[in-house]
């Protein structure tokens, strides 16, 4: 199929339509406003539902309602807007309602900046809402992955009856790149009849979706069931990529735009004879902990350099859990919408190498 040039945000909106998204509820915010803009023009043409909600809270609760009726529903926003959706995400998980939530991240905290950021890693992987919960978090580093993962996200959500997040920095949303519309792997998806609130349809009782379990024993059972489901996701859905790690002395860990910048930094460093590779988590949760542990344990790996668009580092906690003290870890972080440069990354790798020599 011929390649087409697409802007990230418009591409993920089109991907959702191709994945059979029945309903989209959103609210504009830079740098993701092209998603609702595209949806507003194209969802009605396909006979689907587009609603510009009065707020992010309303949008996520509209998702709860529509997806609870068995529809494929999606919302998207950028960091401050995703914060507002946290309560709704917790309720979706408590009621076991599948949905797709896209976060086109900008710098924080608070309103922060409209430029790209990655400081919502904790929120996405640890949950910004209350309760014991997990969501599969897919993180594309290019537009092809963005369209593939958004389509898959609907299937993953339906498979586990759990929301899925697609998390990308603002650069991936704003940039253009060639893509191909290709088939995504097919999954055997369960019917929604046993739980979707679609009326009695001859049943003795109508289906009820609820996250309230007032009896502690029942709520415990509910939580144990959920945690078994999370364990299944952990077993089946973990994804990562290793590039030029076979002989790497320094392994850069990065996702999204910094992972792309790392590719260029690796070219520069390799041309100077410095052996460096990239370990890129694709699912931020489940985190590819075992794969990283194994890589860090190899003799040729001297140290890890974690690079994030975050001042404190957030993914670095998972890097530490994966590496488990086998090798030293250094950190390069830029925040507030500043994207780390190839030159900064090259410098940081050289400094990391000096420290271990």
């Amino acid at each position: 199929m011929a390649k087409e040039l697409w802007k990230g945000n418009e591409a993920i909106a089109e991907a959702a339509i191709r994945a059979g998204c029945d309903c989209y509820f959103g609210y504009p915010i830079t740098p993701q406003s092209e998603v609702p803009e595209y949806m507003s023009a194209h969802m009605p043409k396909h006979g689907r539902i587009f609603v510009q909600a009065e707020s992010e809270l309303a949008a996520i609760n509209m998702v709860y309602g529509a997806a609870g009726c068995g529809m494929r529903a999606m919302t998207s926003s950028s960091s401050p807007g995703i914060s507002l959706k946290q309560e709704g995400i917790s309720y979706l998980i408590g009621s076991e309602i599948p949905a797709v939530i896209v976060n086109c991240m900008r710098g924080g905290p608070g309103l922060g900046t409209i430029q790209p950021g990655q400081s919502d890693y904790y929120q996405a992987t640890r949950g910004g809402g209350n309760g014991d919960y997990r969501t599969v978090v897919l993180s594309p580093a290019n537009i092809q992955e963005a369209v593939d993962y958004v389509q898959e996200a609907f299937d993953i959500a339906d498979q586990y009856r759990n929301p899925v997040m697609v998390v990308m920095d603002g650069m991936i949303g704003q940039m253009m790149e060639p893509i191909e519309w290709r088939e995504i792997p097919k999954r055997n998806l369960p019917s929604k009849d046993s739980w979707a609130t679609t009326g009695r349809k001859g049943r003795a009782e109508h289906n009820t979706l609820n996250s309230l379990y007032i009896e502690p024993e029942l709520c415990d059972v509910h939580n144990q069931n959920l945690s078994r489901k999370f364990a299944e996701m952990e077993k089946n859905e973990v994804r990562w990529e290793e590039i030029r790690c076979d002989d790497a002395e320094i392994v850069i860990t990065a996702y999204g735009t910094p992972a792309r910048i790392a590719l260029t930094a690796i070219e520069v460093l390799r041309s100077e004879g410095i052996k460096v590779g990239l370990f890129r988590p694709i699912t931020l949760w489940p985190f590819p902990e075992k794969a990283l542990h194994e890589l860090a344990g190899k003799d040729h790996v001297k140290a890890i350099l974690d690079v994030e668009m975050s001042s404190t580092g957030q993914m670095i906690d998972d890097i530490r859990l994966g590496v488990e003290g086998q090798k030293p870890i250094s950190f390069l972080g830029r925040a507030g919408g500043v994207i780390p440069t190839v030159e900064e990354m090259v410098e940081a790798v050289k400094n990391t190498l000096k420290e271990v020599q």
Binding site: M171, Q174, E177, V342
Partner: protein, 178 residues
């Protein structure tokens, strides 16, 4: 071949469109391409720019501090990005808007009166197509025929009347490169 191009000008001058045309043409010729815009408050009345990479190998970073070429459509763009052009690189200056010359002597500069040429052929709006022609002629990054086909596809149906104007603007831009 790897081109890292900055295209920068006032919002409305067509800087982002020149970049998109180059990316689209590169893609058509089978190159790897990325197009990354600046976005934010600078777009309102200020300077808007985009970073384009055309490469025969997969592209890592879509943004960069050092460019192989700069297309400057206004003075702030030249002031901001000239220092980042790689030694031996090329700067394309819209000489109707920018009265200054470039400051460095290790770069090649082309001064293109884009607006004058566009007005001569009947519509100032095609000034960006003039610049695109100059870029393509000077660098050979993509084939002129690819751009011509693209122009024909871009203005299909009711807009077909704009095809000759845009093609002429593109050719006049190419003719500026001796």
């Amino acid at each position: 071949m790897k081109k890292s191009i900055i295209i920068s000008g006032f919002g409305g001058q067509g800087a982002l469109a020149i970049g998109k045309n180059l990316a689209e043409a590169g893609m058509t010729e089978g190159l790897y391409v990325t197009w990354a815009p600046s976005y934010g408050p600078e777009m309102r009345g200020g300077t808007a720019n985009c970073s384009v990479v055309l490469s025969d190998e997969p592209i890592g970073s879509p943004v960069f501090n050092t460019s192989t070429e700069l297309i400057a459509l206004n003075e702030p763009s030249l002031a901001k990005f000239e220092s980042g052009v790689l030694p031996g690189g090329t700067v394309f200056v819209n000489s109707n808007v920018i009265s200054e010359k470039i400051h460095r002597d290790d770069l090649t500069a082309y001064y293109i009166p884009c607006n004058t040429i566009a007005l001569e052929i009947g519509n100032e709006k095609v000034a960006n197509m003039v610049m695109l022609g100059a870029y393509v002629a000077a660098t050979g990054a993509v084939k002129p025929e690819t751009i011509e086909t693209m122009i024909q596809e871009m203005f299909a149906g009711a807009k077909a009347k704009f095809i000759p104007l845009n093609i002429e603007a593109f050719h006049r831009g190419m003719a500026c490169i001796g």
